[in-house]
Subunit: 194 residues, 2 copies
DNA sequence: CAATACCAAGCAAGCGCTTGGTTGACAATA
DNA sequence: TATTGTCAACCAAGCGCTTGCTTGGTATTG
């Protein structure tokens, strides 16, 4: 079921399709993006898309899968060496913000907004990956609570953080008064005990 | 441009359509809900919908408008008598949570998730209402900051609260470990200085 | 010469919406 | 009181268009 990772492969035709789809899905949403839109942006005819993907939904499914893996990679890399629970939480927050705003892959927010566009079969597959991703967060927050740096329940804290982070997609502008790094700091400050 | 409020009118045919549409839009999203779906649930044929609304989008637009007005009403009512900035913020948070989870009208979350489904013309109209709604929040948070109960910038605090509140739609279950009231308390605790 | 990537053309289904006509409740008229 | 007119609410049928997807064929490449 799990296929090769091609999202970041600049040469691969499938990779090109995925990157274009990610950007269109993020702008207009899955249902309002047609296969003709995607094909036109890639520079091929709509029918040719189905040489690479069995159907439209599978484009979304593979995109979601690769986005999760990509963010996990980035987290793994930036977590190396960090031991303090608070520092580790900051890494997670920063990575998620970067993902949401296209600095890791493109269109992480699709994972939440377009969840309902997947068929039940695809949902189950992606759900397993998403669960693993969320488990990282819970582990991190539990450690923080054990160290006395968190008063709220870890799962509740995670919900609040995810909501606040996802919401930035609707208002954050890179040329505004905040950087993503400063947003990460302020979010961590909000949740973590002084 | 602004029409009568019929959402809560049980007799009105338009009201019935709006309530059905609200529930379907919330479940499946605007694009994936067809006019035939709405009509079937109401108990009429699809063409008959257009006796009440000029087009599908106007159903969404009027729904959004009435939902904002409904929440503002509830806020106004519950704010009466509250003078402490912290208490007033708690009212706003509690009302927004109630609205998101269908205890005020149905489908407030549509206002965020289906924003892109409106035409630019409709967006402008609803935007004015939304601005007024958001201004209530900013006024409240500014007062709180002036009273020393808030360290973050009011607009940033509002974004965080909105995100956390909207996100509850994806996970909150009435029969779970939390009540909406306790969620409101914890969210206020998180943002407000002790 | 085999595999890959694409084109050209179009099908079947579903979409929002239109049209012309019917129904039943209610008020005005005689 | 019986008749007529009005109007909102709805039906029946289907139009024109867009959708995701299919099919059969053709270049290009190693």
């Amino acid at each position: 079921m799990t296929s090769d990772r091609v999202l970041e492969n600049q040469q691969s035709a499938k990779g090109r399709v995925l990157r274009v789809a990610a950007s269109l899905f993020r702008e207009r949403g899955f249902a309002r993006t047609t296969v003709r839109d995607i094909a036109a942006e890639v520079g091929i005819l709509s029918g040719s898309l189905f040489h690479h993907f069995p159907n439209k939904e599978s484009i979304l499914a593979q995109l979601m899968e690769e986005l999760i893996l990509l963010v996990e990679d980035a987290m793994e890399r930036q977590l190396a060496g960090k031991r303090e629970p608070r520092d580790r939480l900051r890494v997670l927050v920063a990575c998620e913000l970067q993902a949401i705003h296209g600095e890791i892959g493109t269109g992480f927010s699709i994972l939440v907004t377009e969840w309902r566009s997947l068929s039940p079969a695809s949902q189950a597959h992606i759900l397993a990956l998403r669960d693993r991703y969320e488990q990282r967060w819970l582990d991190c927050l539990k450690n923080l609570k054990a160290a006395g740096g968190l008063s709220a329940e870890p799962s509740l804290a995670r919900h609040f953080i995810r909501g606040a982070a996802m919401e930035t997609w609707h208002w954050y502008k890179p040329d505004g008064p905040f950087t993503l790094a400063s947003l990460a700091d302020q979010l961590v400050d909000l949740v973590v005990h002084p």
